[in-house]
């Protein structure tokens, strides 16, 4: 079935270092839509960025990701981590205009 894998459960970084959170997905369908959601403590999860176009970089709020259908990946990156980036990050997949399937999430902690 359709699924999303986020291998890192916890990532701890020093402020100013680059961020890379991994996301791979599995689906038999070619029309995959990929999303990154961010969940700050005591708030609702919200959309960070999304893509359905192969090999096109998408950016929002300093983060960027590129959907690579050849490797079924949609890694989230940022050039320089900030303390305020500390949150739970979810990668998600939608195929065939159906439900949104989430990965297990990566908790990012940025330290001074």
């Amino acid at each position: 079935g359709d699924s999303v894998t986020q291998k890192e459960g916890l990532v701890t970084l020093t402020e100013g270092l680059p961020v890379m959170l991994n996301c791979t997905y599995q689906t038999i369908y070619s029309n995959a839509f990929l999303f990154w959601y961010v969940h700050y403590l005591n708030e609702s999860p919200r959309l960070l960025l999304k893509s359905s176009t192969d090999n096109k970089r998408t950016e929002h709020q300093g983060f960027h990701a590129t959907l690579h259908k050849s490797s079924s990946s949609f890694h989230l990156q940022k050039s320089s981590a900030q303390l305020s980036d500390s949150a739970l990050y979810y990668c998600a997949l939608r195929v065939n205009y159906n439900v949104l399937y989430f990965g297990s999430g990566t908790k990012l902690t940025v330290e001074p």
């Binding site: 999860p45 439900v99 989430f102």
Partner: protein, 113 residues
């Protein structure tokens, strides 16, 4: 801004009791979803709905029922609550098409003792 409201925000229930979690959205979205969030498992889909009167099973429906009496409201029902259902539950709504996003409520923290 899409609005999804969940109630209650916190609930303590006894084992074997019935629990109803409510969700209301004011954005006229066709699709609504119930997820539970657990460390190490992320957001897992319990039930979803395509519109009033429809409910569909997600990945982990056992022990849960859902009800969608109207476009705006979607409830999650635990007929016989168990401690394993202690979790944070999120309701979400969205148009359900392509790359459109879903909008989440603030969550309900349920503790079954």
């Amino acid at each position: 801004e899409a609005a999804v409201t969940q109630s209650p925000r916190n609930k303590v229930a006894v084992t074997g009791g019935k629990v109803t979690l409510s969700c209301n959205q004011t954005n006229n979205h066709n699709n609504m979803y119930w997820y539970r969030q657990d460390t190490g498992h992320g957001l897992r889909l319990i039930h979803y709905s395509y519109g009033a009167g429809s409910t569909e099973k997600g990945d982990i429906p056992d022990g849960y029922k859902a009800s969608r009496p109207s476009q705006e409201n979607f409830s999650l029902i635990l007929e016989l609550a168990t401690p394993s259902q202690t979790s944070v539950y999120f309701c979400a709504s969205g148009p359900g098409q392509g790359n459109t996003e879903v909008f989440f409520g603030k969550g309900t923290r349920l503790t079954v003792v």
